[in-house]
């Protein structure tokens, strides 16, 4: 490989039938200076990307449980292998649900406590900087990002939850603008106000809010910028390694 090609990290975005925010994720990667690479659910090929994003949407219609069928898509074999090698993987909204269904992340997402779809900006408190998307943030920092989901209530068994908390696997919690966590700022009833988690190795992250809709100041808040900046940096580091 020539030395020139490695300066732009290549980030793949998987399109499943029913993916909706795949184009938005590709655009966010490009805005932040990366090269977006479209990946297809039915392929056994990650096209040599340095990081993988599973975007939002309603894969396969989500008529079973959200993400349940996508968790068995051909490309998930490749994602699993990529993750096992330590490659950075980010699941957003439906992508988070898919990663939980595929067993790459702990817990599950069920219908919002209100039983209604919610689309609005929320504040997130960063809980861990030990992930490919939070390397540029410090715990306690607050970012603003929109949510839009009907099934974003994070749940886990009590043992799972204890392990998640004890091992510091929570990456983001819903909070108010000052970083205070409370019932009023938890939009969907998630346990411990959990908005995003990581795996034990730290290279796989899922969150319900949509950072790809928070990089362009013309159309919303910009809290997603540091997440994509960090993802591109870790993709680049992986590509150089």
């Amino acid at each position: 490989m020539s030395e020139m090609t490695i300066s732009t990290p290549r980030v793949g975005v998987i399109t499943f039938p029913g993916s909706l925010d795949d184009g938005d994720a590709l655009r966010a990667i490009e805005i932040m200076g990366g090269e977006g690479v479209a990946l297809w659910h039915a392929d056994h090929d990650l096209r040599g990307v340095d990081a993988v994003v599973l975007p939002g949407g309603f894969s396969y219609g989500d008529y079973l449980r959200c993400g349940a069928i996508a968790g068995h898509a051909p490309i998930l074999d490749e994602v699993r292998a990529f993750a096992d090698r330590g490659g950075p993987v980010l699941g957003i909204c439906n992508g988070f649900q898919i990663l939980c269904e595929a067993g790459l992340l702990p817990g599950a997402l069920i219908r919002n406590a209100s039983l209604r779809f919610i689309c609005r900006d929320v504040f997130l408190r960063v809980e861990s900087s030990q992930t490919p998307v939070t390397g540029e943030l410090v715990p306690g920092e607050v970012i603003e990002i929109p949510i839009k989901h009907g099934e974003g209530q994070y749940v886990a068994t009590s043992e799972q939850l204890r392990a998640i908390e004890d091992e510091g696997l929570v990456v983001f919690r819903y909070a108010d603008r000052t970083g205070e966590v409370g019932e009023g700022s938890n939009p969907n009833g998630s346990l411990d106000a959990i908005a995003g988690v990581r795996n034990e190795a730290g290279n796989v992250v899922g969150l319900m809010p949509h950072p790809e809709h928070a990089v362009d100041p013309d159309v919303g808040p910009t809290g997603g910028q540091p997440l994509f900046a960090a993802l591109l940096a870790s993709a680049l580091a992986g590509a150089r390694a």
Partner: protein, 736 residues
């Protein structure tokens, strides 16, 4: 059939003289399947038989118009070789019976109209009207319709960015559920009747979902008759939506078009295969041989008439040259969609339908599409429209002004609709600069500095008192809502919601509304590119108010110069552009505080309105405006308070006027806008206003946590925000 049963044609919604006409066309008695085809295609919903004669009087041409009425959707030139494709439709009858699916499939239908023009859908807007939320059934309808719009729209990747929600008693029995979709296409790639040339021997390929028994009689039974106590039995005529299939259909269709694989494309909506096949053939000037055995069915044993008129959702019909069939099949397969070759274009104009190797129908395509009945139904003006003579403007008013403001601000028509629009994905596609809650939605054209400004407006209360004036106000307000963002209004689509056209008074309302719409569209240079008529919105003797809903599309050349609705900062000067007259007739204040829907609606001077729009567009282009908000429901008082709540900045103003205070505050005079201006730009603004003949009066300035109407009353932004935000959730019985 028993002897006492109604003849078949009547059960299919055809009148006796229409039946005779079919016999004349065919020169024989029609077969049952043929009757079903005519019943669907000659229904009010498909044929516009009562409205056509009036719709012909609307202005449809203009410099920006690329595609006018008569296609699946209209289109305007937005520069850079791009076209905005847009259309509005109603799904009120199905929604009254089964709100979730009725509203959901309404979204699906309008999206396919846009896709069939070769455009990618980029925005949805939903104008909705319900009865008062104090009634449990109206709450059930609102909750179901909103959930259906979200449940479908959120799953197909098209943002829902606007619309409006209004409440009035006449909508208790007949909710109005309209939906507008806007798409984008390269102008040269638009799929229209003349842009592609089908060949004899080309194939009609049905792709997407299978065909089932759902939705049979949707256009003739449900949409073209009034609802009554037996309407619940029509539930099987409501279609069931599958948004996942729709998403696949969108992607596959746009790929087929971009690869140049099609000779024609048509969505399947009302009247199903019958409509799609006959319109495609008639437009091509050909006939078609249709094989119903090739249609992929959801269940066995479906009869020919059922296959022909099924309104199963998420289906499209492509015209494909035989040499391209394999490639078309490949694209569809990649998207998980199955195809079926159901017909072949033939010379002549006849449709021949076979089923089980029997010919079940032989009819001329044009007789279904273009030769339907056309009626000039009797019209009769009422001797006196109830309430017009009792104008509330000059009644003595002893009430408290601040309490009145609270009441109007918390009235469902005025209160925040956040409860509704938070259930819609307004962000997907990443181009939404301003969504619901802004006077007009502003959606960026990808990769450019341009943006579309979109608004939907209906003025039912004004229409009830004066249908002509009501329609004019609807057009003017829609254009004003676009112009306050700095955008130039280009053209409209519409959805005309009325009662039973067989009643002369309803037909009079319709004709008057068309007259008003025509005058306003001509004066504001916003031609009509298409639309939809929804009649029979009445039950017993209760019809909805005559409510033409206008969908306006405008263009903003540089989105960075967009003017927001709310006050963005403290220290701005607040101006009123336009003049306030003593006009409380048909106002929100009259209904909420005085308890009457009465009087004459405000007058409307279309020249003044046009001058105001010119001024707003020019002021935005010169970056003179920090904010601009249309004065409509609740008058200047509500416009100021909404701008304060939205921006979290209070204000102090003096409403200097010779009018009584309550009239000055709540009059709904037209052609007025409240603007915020940085002090250093005040002079330029006043000069511009003077040059264009627009009255501009300085009212005060923004800043601080308080709302001060000097010499009248004062309160806090926080108190008013609480009222505005919580009114709808409270009415729905939710903890707030």
């Amino acid at each position: 059939m028993t002897e006492t049963e109604e003849p078949l044609h009547r059960r299919l919604g055809l009148a006796d003289d229409e039946f005779e006409r079919i016999r004349e066309t065919l020169g024989r008695d029609p077969r049952p399947a043929e009757l079903a085809m005519y019943g669907a295609m000659w229904s009010e919903h498909c044929s516009y038989k009562s409205s056509k004669i009036h719709l012909k009087t609307l202005p449809t041409e203009g410099t920006a118009v690329l595609v006018g009425p008569g296609q699946d959707a209209g289109a305007v030139d937005v520069g850079d070789g791009m076209a905005a494709v847009f259309k509005m439709e109603s799904h009120s009858h199905p929604s009254a019976i089964e709100p979730y699916q009725g509203a959901a499939t309404g979204v699906g239908g309008i999206v396919r109209d846009i896709v069939s023009m070769g455009a990618r859908p980029v925005a949805l807007l939903d104008p909705l009207m319900f009865g008062p939320l104090t009634e449990p059934r109206n709450r059930w309808l609102l909750e179901g319709v909103v959930a259906g719009i979200g449940g479908y729209g959120n799953c197909i990747g098209v943002p829902t960015v606007g619309g409006e929600i209004r409440f009035a008693e006449p909508h208790s029995a007949n909710p109005t559920v309209d939906v507008m979709c806007v798409g984008l296409a390269r102008a040269e790639e638009l799929v229209t009747a003349t842009s592609l040339t089908p060949h004899v021997g080309s194939l009609m390929v049905l792709y997407g979902a299978t065909t089932g028994r759902d939705g049979i009689g949707g256009v003739s039974v449900l949409a073209s008759a009034t609802l009554d106590e037996t309407s619940e039995e029509s539930r099987p005529s409501v279609q069931i939506g599958d948004p996942f299939a729709e998403k696949l259909l969108i992607e596959a269709s746009l790929e087929l078009i971009s690869l140049g694989l099609l000779e024609g494309l048509q969505d399947l909506g009302g009247a199903g295969i019958t409509c799609a096949v006959s319109e495609s053939a008639a437009r091509a000037g050909m006939g078609a041989a249709i094989d119903l055995d090739a249609v992929r069915l959801r269940e066995e044993g479906m009869e020919a008439f059922e296959i022909l008129t099924s309104e199963s959702q998420e289906r499209m019909l492509a015209i494909v040259h035989p040499s391209k069939l394999d490639e078309v099949g490949g694209v569809c397969e990649r998207w998980g969609l199955q195809i079926a070759v159901i017909a072949e274009l033939v010379e002549g104009g006849g449709l021949t339908v076979t089923h089980g190797s029997q010919i079940v129908a032989e009819v001329p395509a044009t007789s279904l599409v273009d030769e339907g009945p056309e009626y000039d139904r009797p019209r009769e003006a009422p001797v006196e429209v109830a309430g017009v003579a009792d104008d509330p403007t000059f009644l003595p008013f002893e009430g408290d002004l601040l309490d009145s403001l609270r009441a109007v601000l918390g009235a469902p028509n005025v209160a925040s609709k956040r409860w509704v629009w938070q259930q819609y994905d307004s962000l997907v596609q990443g181009q939404t600069i301003a969504g619901a809650g802004s006077d007009a939605a502003v959606v960026r054209l990808p990769g450019t500095m341009k943006a579309l400004a979109l608004s939907t407006d209906g003025k039912g209360r004004f229409g009830a008192l004066d249908p002509r004036l009501g329609a004019m106000h609807a057009v003017a307000e829609a254009a004003r809502n676009v112009a306050v963002t700095g955008a130039r209004p280009l053209a409209i689509t519409n959805c005309l919601n009325f009662g039973n056209p067989e009643r002369p008074v309803v037909m009079w309302q319709f004709a008057e509304s068309i007259r008003g719409m025509r005058d306003a569209c001509l004066a504001l240079d916003t031609p009509v590119t298409g639309g939809n008529v929804s009649f029979y919105n009445e039950s017993g003797d209760s019809a909805i108010w005559p409510t033409p809903v206008i969908g306006m599309v405008g263009i903003l050349d540089d989105h960075r110069l967009r003017v927001p609705t709310a006050f963005p900062a403290a220290g701005l000067s607040v101006f009123l552009l336009g003049e306030t007259f003593p006009e409380l007739g048909g106002s929100e204040f009259a209904e909420v505080v005085l308890g009457v829907v009465a009087g004459r609606p405000p007058s409307l001077d279309l020249d003044k309105e046009r001058a105001l729009h010119t001024m707003l567009i020019e002021a935005a282009a010169q970056d003179l405006l920090a904010s601009a908000h249309d004065c409509s429901d609740g008058g200047i008082a509500i416009a100021l308070v909404e701008a304060a709540i939205g921006g979290a900045h209070g204000f102090a103003v003096t409403i200097g006027s010779d009018l009584p205070a309550h009239v000055a505050l709540f009059s709904e005079s037209a052609s007025r806008v409240v603007v915020g201006v940085a002090p250093e730009r005040e002079r330029a603004l006043v000069e511009l206003a003077g040059a264009l003949g627009v009255p501009a009066a300085r009212l005060g300035e923004t800043g601080g946590p308080r709302v001060v109407f000097d010499g009248m009353f004062e309160t806090t932004v926080a108190e008013l925000r609480e009222i505005h935000d919580t009114a709808i959730p409270r009415l729905l019985g939710e903890a707030v």
